[in-house]
């Protein structure tokens, strides 16, 4: 069997159907490695060894009977703890959901189940996906596999670290303002934030419903295309989901890709960005030029307002989405001796929510409250239009936009926890993409790392529903 660090979804499938190994053997190898290594990394909040073994065995039986199986059959997948898998815990790394067990499968999980994937367990994250370092988890720290003194990024830090440390072959995360892309960059893996509506949000514990999207983490862009294709598509349980044609997304044609023009926005190369990031991104641009792609400087003039717009719209949606966590439903502790409901809510939310969650819920309540609604929420929605229009205009001149992912590589634990604004700035290059509802792919800008060097990613932003462009470029880039 191929050692786990060299395995990809593609290679796994080829080996599985050639009967070089069984799905159960590989699942077992991952659990062995989780037992050996995850004490140090902390990628998982819970594992599901028994059900994973059953899922893997079913695939092995199908193969023994010479049934044709799809590209994800038997593939060991880790899932962010905000995404529901029936019968497994789904805490969103919050104390208020500590005892909750999901009563149904999320839409993306249902599709993966039909594709016969194997679910290894649930990964750590910032509480309710609020954060950029996974330090806001109520339960544990996740360490960056490239440097254990540093954060893996967030909020989907557990999923990114699981891929980087070979604790899963593919993973799901969710991205509201950069929560797939920033950890992908920090951990040196591939991460895709799909077009808003490409993947069902049913069964994703909602943070900000107009921004949230589920997407894959993998080792290669080809694997990301395979995993994305499997989870994409309309789900009647999410009215904002839609079908798009992703048939050839894992088989790009070089001549189609060569015709694309890549825009480089001036506003994304700003003072305050770590020189190592700028250098890594320039390196990626040079490599892409060798594929024959052409480049053009562009402008996205309202970029600088994106952070403010995001920190108004997102908390507003958070404040209503978190109302459902009342300390009673979803495995509430049932401290029912209080005399009325309001008292239960006040005390259970007060105890069950962490500091960042409280901050955002209260900020959201403020920007929606009478007297402030027009100055903040309505204003932010209008500026959101301007940001989306910037991209629309840019995409009249170019097909894809290339930018850095985060202003720095992975930072140290505690470095930004004292000041919420400095943490929020980690997402300045990823937030505009969510506001405009676009797809974006993150890949490593440097393939080989010197000792002590940290991985740094670059971001390819595509037109709506054109994941094929960014994943296509990614698939040829990784062959260079």
């Amino acid at each position: 069997m191929e050692p786990l660090h060299r395995l990809t979804i593609k290679k796994f499938h080829d080996g599985l159907v050639a009967k070089e190994f069984s799905a159960l053997e590989v699942a077992q190898a991952y659990f062995d490695r989780i037992k050996e290594k995850d004490g140090e990394i902390g990628a998982y909040l819970s594992t599901a060894e028994a059900s994973a073994a059953r899922e893997a065995e079913a695939v092995d039986i199908a193969i023994a009977k010479d049934e044709t199986v799809g590209p994800l059959a038997g593939v060991p997948i880790a899932v962010k703890d905000a995404i529901l898998i029936k019968g497994q815990p789904a805490t969103a790394a919050s104390k208020i959901l500590e005892h909750y067990e999901a009563s149904y499968d999320a839409g993306a999980i249902r599709k993966l189940r039909n594709a016969r994937a194997v679910f290894l367990g649930k990964t750590n994250m910032d509480e309710f996906a609020m954060g950029s370092s996974t330090e806001n988890s109520a339960f544990k720290k996740t360490r960056n596999p490239h440097d254990l003194t540093r954060v893996p990024g967030g909020s989907s830090g557990g999923s990114a670290a699981a891929i980087a440390a070979n604790l899963a072959l593919g993973a799901l995360g969710s991205d509201t303002g950069g929560s797939i892309r920033e950890p992908a960059s920090f951990c040196g893996v591939v991460g895709l934030k799909p077009t808003y509506g490409a993947v069902s949000r049913s069964g994703l514990i909602a943070m900000s419903s107009s921004l949230d999207q589920i997407g894959p983490f993998t080792k290669t862009a080809e694997d990301a295309a395979i995993l994305f294709k499997a989870i994409a598509g309309r789900d009647p349980l999410d009215a904002t989901s839609a079908d798009a044609d992703y048939r050839n997304i894992d088989h790009p044609v070089l001549n189609d890709i060569k015709r694309l023009t890549i825009g480089i926005p001036d506003e994304y190369f700003v003072p305050g960005t770590d020189p190592a990031v700028t250098k890594a991104v320039e390196n990626a641009v040079e490599k892409l030029k060798s594929l024959g792609l052409s480049f053009k400087r562009i402008s996205l003039p309202h970029t600088k307002y994106a952070l403010s717009v995001y920190y108004i719209i997102m908390p507003a949606e958070v404040s209503s989405n978190l109302a459902r966590f009342d300390g009673i439903r979803y495995g509430g502790t049932g401290k029912q001796h209080r005399k009325n409901l309001a008292e239960i809510y006040l005390s259970e939310k007060g105890l069950g929510f962490g500091p960042e969650t409280k901050r955002r819920a209260i900020l959201g309540t403020f920007v929606l409250s009478s007297g402030y609604y027009d100055a903040y929420y309505d204003k932010a929605q209008r500026v959101r239009t301007l940001i989306a229009e910037d991209f629309k205009r840019a995409f009249e001149q170019v097909d894809v936009i290339l930018t850095p992912v985060a202003p720095t590589p992975a930072f140290k634990f505690g470095e930004k926890t004292h000041d919420p604004l400095s943490m929020y700035l980690s997402d300045i290059f990823t937030i505009p993409v969510n506001l405009a509802g676009l797809p974006a792919l993150v890949m490593r800008a440097t393939t080989t790392l010197a000792a002590g060097e940290l991985p740094i990613g670059f971001q390819l932003i595509g037109k709506k529903w054109r994941e094929a462009d960014i994943l296509g470029i990614g698939q040829f880039y990784e062959q260079l």
Partner: protein
């Protein structure tokens, strides 16, 4: 520059149904002050002629057929209630006597 007073914060916390202790109040007043300060930059933009973007999707009028559907997972989650009776959740009174 917008700031939030202690009274205002207590009112917001009450609306959000989140009980805060005294040290949390102090931190939040400071944090929210600097976050709201950052939002001031939006005032410089004239958006009177710009329509608000009210969601993430361009889809309009997503309909489904008005037909009988199979079970809608009704009752799922009851097992996660601390106290239930015949599929209903038991809670203390909503209004005081």
């Amino acid at each position: 520059m917008a700031t939030i007073s202690k009274e205002e914060l207590r009112h917001l916390a009450e609306l959000a149904r989140i009980k805060l202790d005294a040290s949390e109040e102090d931190f939040l007043i400071k944090d929210l002050g600097s976050i709201l300060g950052h939002f001031e930059e939006l005032r410089a933009l004239d958006t009177s002629a710009v329509p608000p973007m009210t969601g993430g999707t361009d889809l309009k009028n997503v309909f489904r057929d008005d037909t009988e559907r199979e079970n809608t997972n009704r009752g799922a989650g009851v097992e996660a209630f601390p106290e239930a009776e015949n599929g209903f959740l038991k809670v203390p009174p909503v209004f005081e006597e």
